[in-house]
Symmetry: C2
Subunit: 236 residues, 2 copies
Amino acid sequence: MNEYSVKKEVNDKYSLRGRVFHRIREDILNGKYRENEELREVAIGEELGVSRTPVREAFRQLELEGLIHIVPNKGAYVTGITSKDVRDIYAMRSLLEGLCARWATEHITEEQMEEMEENIYLSEFHAAKGHAEQLTELDSRFHEILYEASDSKMLKHTLSDFHEYVMRIRKQTLSDNTRSVQCNSEHRKIMEAIKAKDAEEAEKQARQHMINAYHHMAEHGLGAIYDSGREKNLKL
Amino acid sequence: MNEYSVKKEVNDKYSLRGRVFHRIREDILNGKYRENEELREVAIGEELGVSRTPVREAFRQLELEGLIHIVPNKGAYVTGITSKDVRDIYAMRSLLEGLCARWATEHITEEQMEEMEENIYLSEFHAAKGHAEQLTELDSRFHEILYEASDSKMLKHTLSDFHEYVMRIRKQTLSDNTRSVQCNSEHRKIMEAIKAKDAEEAEKQARQHMINAYHHMAEHGLGAIYDSGREKNLKL
DNA sequence: ACATGTATGATTGTATACAATCATGCATAA
DNA sequence: TTATGCATGATTGTATACAATCATACATGT
């Protein structure tokens, strides 16, 4: 349903600002607004039933997140992600998710551990049933749990950024069922290493998980969708 | 007409909006606004000579960067950097600076290589003379060159963020002369590995450089300045 | 025909007006 | 005394008015 439930709840409760921000972002991530499309403040404001002010504030945040690019006095344009950007992000994520898994091993709470196990159990169920939507949601949640378990505000923030950045691509990747199964098996390995308090192994598995996710993506349409015309040697 | 627009572009990279954002950001990082201090839109607007609108937009961005925390209908409060945050950032930087050095080895240009060598020569000169100011500047520049040489927009952006985040601490660290000497020696090792096209060694040295920088900082007043009351075991 | 200047409309940038909300302090009653 | 309710002021949230800027198209002169 909603990928960023925590953030959303906090913002939705009180102000338009959060709603506007998340609505526009979702529309970009879902591909409603396409690469290089110009976003006009009044048009989007009317669509969401608000004035320009909240829209502008949302634009500033979206720019900082890298989803749009604002040219002063001209307009806001949806930022394209090149295949090289994706490759670079996954390389960074590989290292940081590894670090995250290591720290999570040291700091995870009982409840987090239980939610993680439940997450994997559910994922395996939905993979067997072929429920793509739920799998996407559960995959996101698995990593969020990991981020929170690391007990590091900074690391969580950084990884969440990366995660959201590659969201649009991840969606179609996970809809491939063979990858879902392998993905779940990798999640399970990470979870078991954490449960066994084996930080070294958790780090290794988390890193490998990112590398595998990237390789699968690179081989299944990444180039076709986000063809930047460069850097086809996709070793990671 | 034309003269003005050209001049403007030269003067401020990102127009008024950017100036307001960067000014407030700098004031937070420099410690002008202290932890938990409430930032009022009108007060800051008056200080910068602008209305609330640009200030509000800047606040939204700063919140996303994690420098302030906005409570709806209440106010904006400066988020403190704890010693744990610094530790976490250095752990992340260690990995990513390593990756950066690796990629720099593969992509560095002639000019960048030359500027890096020149940077190290100058650093050694100023260290011998005890010029703290120049050393800070040169150290920042060394890492910037490295970021650009990596030829990765995403990595450069991430590392620049981290770099700025810990800037205020780095300043006093580098004013210690014994560390300056060691720091230069580590820069030299990184540079030589890159020059020898030894990516493995470059990565290793860059990682170690961050670990050393952090340890030195932790032993020279980090706790005193950024005492958050938690996490005193500063292993990295 | 081509280049240049200029009018025009559209869009963003900023300031301000007004509404909603919150914190504070005081008055009042148990 | 203590708790409750309300008035008041301060601050943020949103909408709108106005200024600055940019792109387009058309007119004019060569």
